[in-house]
Amino acid sequence: MDKRLIIEHIPRLRRYARALVGDRYIADDLVQDTLERAWNKFYLWRPGSDLRAWLFTIMHNVFVNQARRRRYEIEQPVEEVPVVPVRATQTEQLELQDVDRALRSLPAEQREVILLVAVEQMSYDEASRALDIPIGTVMSRLSRARERMRQLLGGQTMVPLKAVK
C-alpha cells in the first residue's frame, strides 16, 4: 500500500476544491476531509484502477454531504452577478473575474461538471464515473453550465450589428 499514490494527487484535488468552493480555507478543509476518507478506505481502491477518478468521487461525495449540511455555501443567487457590459468583440475582453463570478453562480452540480471537463480535463466518460452519473447527464449539465455562463457574461445579448449606425 503506497501512500504516495494519494499524496501525488493532492495538488490536483486542491485545484478542483478551490474552483468548486471558492474560498481557500474551506477548499482545503474539503481536501482534508477527502484525504482522510480516502486514506481510511484505501483498502477499497483496486490497484491498477484509476486513482484520480476514485479520489474525485470521494471528494464529490464529501462535497455533496457537506453541502447538504449547509457547511459550504454552494449556491449564490444569480442576481448578484453583475451583468457585464456588452462589447463588440465579446469574450476576448471578458475579465477572468467575471468568468469566476459566473462560475460561482452556477448550481453546484453544473459547476462540478464544467470544472472536471475544463480544468481537470477529464473525458466525459471519466467525469461520468467520478460523479457517478450517466454520460447523458454529464452532457446536459455541461451544456446548461456553458449556456448559463454565456447568458451571464453577455454573450447571449449580442447587439445586432444592424443597430449600429
Binding site: R4, I10, R15, W39, N40
Partner: protein, 246 residues
C-alpha cells in the same frame, strides 16, 4: 450530411472528437456563424477557468494536508497525549494550557513527506530551476530570513535541479532538489526550528521508502531525503554538512 448533435458541439470544444466527426462539425459550423461564435465562447471559458485555477497546483501544499494520511486514530492519540501533557504542564505552570497546540510533525517526517510529494513530479519538480540558481537562493534566503546556500553536490554525482518554497509548521521552508544521472532525486529541506538555537548530531530516520538524515544547526533544521540506501545517503549528507559548515 448527418445532423450535428449538441453533444458533438461540446466535444468539439473539448477536443474529444474523432478526426472524421471533427471535419463534419467543422463543415457544419462553416454555415452556422452563431454557433461558431457560441463555441468560441465556450472554448474561452475553458481557457479562462484553467488560467484562474491552474496556479493552485503550484502553491505549496499545507503541512496539515500532507499529514491527513496519518490515520485519524493516531492523530487522536497524539492529540490526547498533548492534551494530557498540557494538563500536566498546566498543573506546573498555572493558568497556561497547551492543550490546543497542534501536534508537531518531526523534522524528518515533514521532510520525507515533502520529498515524497515533489520528487516524483515530472512537470513541476521545482518552482525555480537551477539555471537561475542565484535568484533561487536569494529568494529562498529572503523568505526564510537567513543566508541560505544550495550545496554543490556534483562531486558525489548529484546536480541541482532547483528549489521551491513550502509551508511548514514553523513558517516557510526551503526545499532544494538534486538529481543524479539516472534520475534518482534527493531533496534538502531547510526549516526554522522552534525554541532556543541548538546543534544536534546527525540523525537517521527511515520514513517508509524515504531515508532521511537530519540535524539541527542553530535556528535551522536540515534534512536530506532520498530513496537510496543509508550508506549512500550518509555520504551525501556529509558533503552537505561540510559545505554548510566550512
Amino acid at each position: 450530411m448527418k445532423p450535428v448533435s449538441e453533444a458533438d458541439l461540446h466535444a468539439y470544444v473539448d477536443g474529444a472528437l474523432s478526426e472524421s466527426t471533427r471535419s463534419e462539425v467543422e463543415a457544419w459550423l462553416a454555415t452556422h456563424p452563431d454557433d461558431t461564435e457560441r463555441l468560441r465562447a465556450y472554448g474561452d471559458y475553458n481557457a479562462m477557468l484553467r488560467s484562474l485555477y491552474n496556479p493552485v497546483m503550484d502553491e505549496p501544499v499545507p503541512a496539515a494536508l500532507l499529514a491527513a494520511h496519518v490515520p485519524a486514530w493516531r492523530r487522536y492519540v497524539a492529540a490526547a497525549v498533548v492534551f494530557a501533557f498540557g494538563i500536566g504542564l498546566g498543573w506546573v505552570v498555572r493558568g497556561q494550557s497547551f492543550a490546543h497546540q497542534p501536534v508537531p510533525l518531526s523534522l524528518a517526517r515533514q521532510a520525507a513527506i515533502a520529498h515524497a510529494v515533489y520528487a516524483p513530479e515530472v512537470r513541476h519538480p521545482v518552482e525555480v530551476g537551477a539555471n537561475d540558481e542565484e535568484h533561487l537562493v536569494r529568494w529562498l534566503s529572503k523568505r526564510l530570513g537567513t543566508a541560505l546556500k544550495a550545496p554543490a553536490l556534483s562531486a558525489v554525482g548529484y546536480d541541482l535541479v532547483g528549489g521551491r518554497l513550502l509551508s511548514g509548521p514553523q513558517g516557510p521552508v526551503a526545499q532544494f532538489m538534486y538529481q543524479d544521472s539516472r534520475g534518482q532525486r534527493l531533496t534538502l529541506y531547510v526549516s526554522r526550528q522552534r525554541g532556543e538555537p541548538r546543534d544536534t548530531a546527525f540523525r537517521f530516520s527511515q520514513e517508509d521508502r524515504v531515508s532521511v538524515f537530519y540535524w539541527v544547526d542553530g535556528n535551522f533544521g536540515y534534512a536530506l531525503s532520498g530513496e537510496i540506501g543509508k550508506e549512500q545517503l550518509l555520504k551525501v549528507a556529509d558533503v552537505v554538512y561540510k559545505q554548510l559548515n566550512p
